[in-house]
């Protein structure tokens, strides 16, 4: 269809409810005589009807999400440009540290004091935690033993330890160098751990970052995580253990008392970079349901949140998983427990669910953004009593009768009394 087709102009006025009698006559002729235009108009108006669903998410305009495919997500750089980048990168890495004034926002078990403004070149801890605000408004949290060196208000270098960065509005473009990669922030919160074994872990809590090395740029989005080795090799990190604060993250195993030790799926190693976040005792109204979306779990309309689910160990899944028809999730359970699946209501109960689980009669809902917002999807609570520790396999998300996937389900577990 030509962009200057007058029928398109008429269609846009029709869609906005500002059409004239001439517009309607022109469109009516097109509807009666041109099947191609008719199909386009139907698709256009369907999209118009669906866009209000994205108001909540699009409002957070720096939170895009897309299905990552490794072969297309890396932007390989031509040889000459790569050579220039190596030189530039070398110069960057050689830049000396500088004193910058930071404000101490939060400390735990450290000699720093909250509210203190101090000029420093290096933030180093043997233990505890410190959060500082740089003059660029970037908030940087060092958790546990580690060291961060400052180069300027928009550039720092972590030599060892775990750092969580919230760049805020003004800090877009903040650069954090690590021993294995350079992280360029595009407006977000992210975590980096420069490990003692020479590996660097990078995970995105919110928004979007880029990993730069001398060969390529790898974009990472909310809910994705990668481990980078000394040879710049990249590997998906499948499990993150979370906590109450954004800086409470770890690529290590959950605490012993957690019923769920780890989660795996059947995505190829290079097919997807999303992680599953395990939140020990984390299920409650308002708990995030996905690592890459803003939906939260809430009670059914007019009902209390099911008491059986309160404080259950929660697995936050990711939305893209629902699209895979042959999807499988494997959970390693550490103890006898009740395993719950929070399944979007649908006409067709997945076979694996009907076979292995029973309906509890409880309901929860997925809500958009916070627990007081409108219900986006009612979900049924299914359960399975697992009497022995071991591996449990779950299947694909439900599909509508036309084969289109519904929303991804949630998973929780509670130890048996």
């Amino acid at each position: 269809m030509r962009p200057n087709d007058p029928r398109l102009e008429a269609l846009h006025r029709h869609a906005e409810g500002i059409d004239s009698a001439e517009d309607v006559a022109l469109l009516e002729q097109a509807v009666l005589n041109d099947a191609e235009f008719r199909a386009f108009m139907i698709e256009y108006l369907h999209i118009d009807s669906a866009l209000p669903e994205y108001v909540g998410e699009a409002a957070e305009s720096l939170r895009p999400e897309r299905e990552p495919v490794r072969t297309t997500r890396r932007w390989f750089i031509p040889a000459t440009a790569a050579a220039a980048l190596i030189i530039t990168a070398s110069l960057w890495f050689m830049r000396p540290e500088a004193d910058i004034e930071v404000e101490v926002l939060r400390v735990a078990d450290s000699s720093l004091r909250v509210g203190q403004r101090v000029k420093m070149q290096t933030l180093a801890l043997d233990h505890g935690e410190a959060q500082v605000r740089l003059p660029s408004d970037v908030k940087l949290t060092l958790s546990g033993a580690g060291e961060v060196r400052f180069i300027d208000p928009m550039h720092a270098r972590v030599t060892r330890g775990k750092v969580t960065v919230d760049v805020g509005e003004r800090g877009k473009g903040f650069v954090l160098d690590t021993p294995q990669t350079r992280v360029v922030d595009l407006g977000t919160q992210f975590g980096v751990e420069a490990r003692g074994d020479g590996l660097t872990d990078v995970m995105v809590i919110e928004g979007k970052i880029e990993l730069h090395d001398d060969q390529r740029v790898t974009p990472l989005e909310q809910g994705e995580a990668l481990r980078v080795d000394a040879q710049r090799g990249q590997q998906r990190i499948v499990n993150i253990t979370g906590g109450a604060l954004p800086s409470d993250w770890s690529t290590g195993a959950p605490p012993k008392e957690c019923s769920i030790a780890s989660v795996a799926d059947n995505f190829e190693p290079v097919e997807d970079y999303h992680f599953y976040r395990i939140l020990p005792r984390g299920l409650a109204p308002g708990a995030a349901s996905y690592v890459n979306r803003t939906q939260v779990w809430g009670p059914a309309d007019g009902k209390a949140f099911p008491s059986a689910l309160m404080n259950a160990d929660l697995v936050q899944t990711f939305r893209g998983a629902r699209k895979r028809q042959a999807y499988e999730m494997q959970l390693i359970l550490t103890r006898p427990c009740t395993l719950y699946v929070l399944m979007p209501k649908s006409e067709r109960t997945p076979d694996w669910l009907a076979r292995d689980f029973t309906l509890t009669g409880d309901e929860v809902t997925l809500r958009n953004g916070d627990v007081g917002s409108r219900i986006q999807m009612p979900c049924e609570v299914w359960q399975r009593v697992v009497t022995e520790p071991g591996v449990i396999t779950l299947g694909a998300a439900p599909r509508k009768s036309q084969g289109v996937p519904l929303t991804m389900y949630g998973v929780a577990a509670k130890p048996l009394p």
């Binding site: 199909a39 698709e43 994205y54 108001v55 939305r319 006409e347």
Partner: protein, 181 residues
């Protein structure tokens, strides 16, 4: 119906809610293709939800809910049109019937397009996502939004039009890539 086998009111409500929630986006899109503004579509959908619930008992097979609801939606749009002022511009009944039939034939494709829309919206430049978010928020008037943005209302309308066209093209390309078109 044998009272012994009749589902309880609560089970029936539950069954209706489940089916309506699942098919509401498709119904909303279907209604939207038959009326000339989002506000009109909202009004029809409100009436339709009530009408579907009232007649739900007459639906013998829940598997037929979608086809049944689409038929009800067509009747609801016709009834709504009759109630509107005579100076409103509508397609004639022949055109409306052709649109309705084609939209029903395309319903599987349209479901898949709505799925693909999520990723396509995410791919929009940040300023366009922000505009979509603001323009499609409940109760927003485009002329108010345009004044806030320091632009004319027509300029905002045209930008939204270009975004919708881009989203149609993006969702078509996604379906073609997945072999669903």
């Amino acid at each position: 119906m044998n009272p012994m086998s009749a589902p309880s009111a609560s089970a029936q409500h539950d069954s209706f809610l489940r089916l309506y929630t699942e098919h509401e986006p498709a119904l909303r899109g279907f209604v939207r293709s038959l009326v000339s503004s989002r506000e009109d579509a909202r009004e029809v959908m409100q009436e339709l939800a009530v009408a579907l619930w009232r007649k739900f008992e007459s639906l013998a097979d829940p598997a037929q809910f979608r086809a049944w609801a689409f038929g009800m939606a067509r009747m609801q749009v016709l009834a709504w049109r009759r109630d509107q002022a005579r100076d409103r511009h509508f397609f004639g009944e022949e055109a409306m019937t052709i649109i309705a039939e084609q939209a029903e034939r395309m319903s599987t494709q349209l479901d898949a397009q709505r799925e693909a829309l999520e990723d396509c919206v995410a791919k929009l430049p940040a300023d366009q996502r922000s505009l979509v978010s603001r323009a499609y928020a409940p109760g927003v008037r485009i002329d108010d939004l345009a004044a806030q943005l320091g632009r004319s209302a027509m300029a905002v309308y045209k930008t939204l039009h270009r975004i919708r066209i881009a989203l149609v093209e993006c969702t078509r390309a996604t379906l073609a890539k997945e072999g669903l078109s």
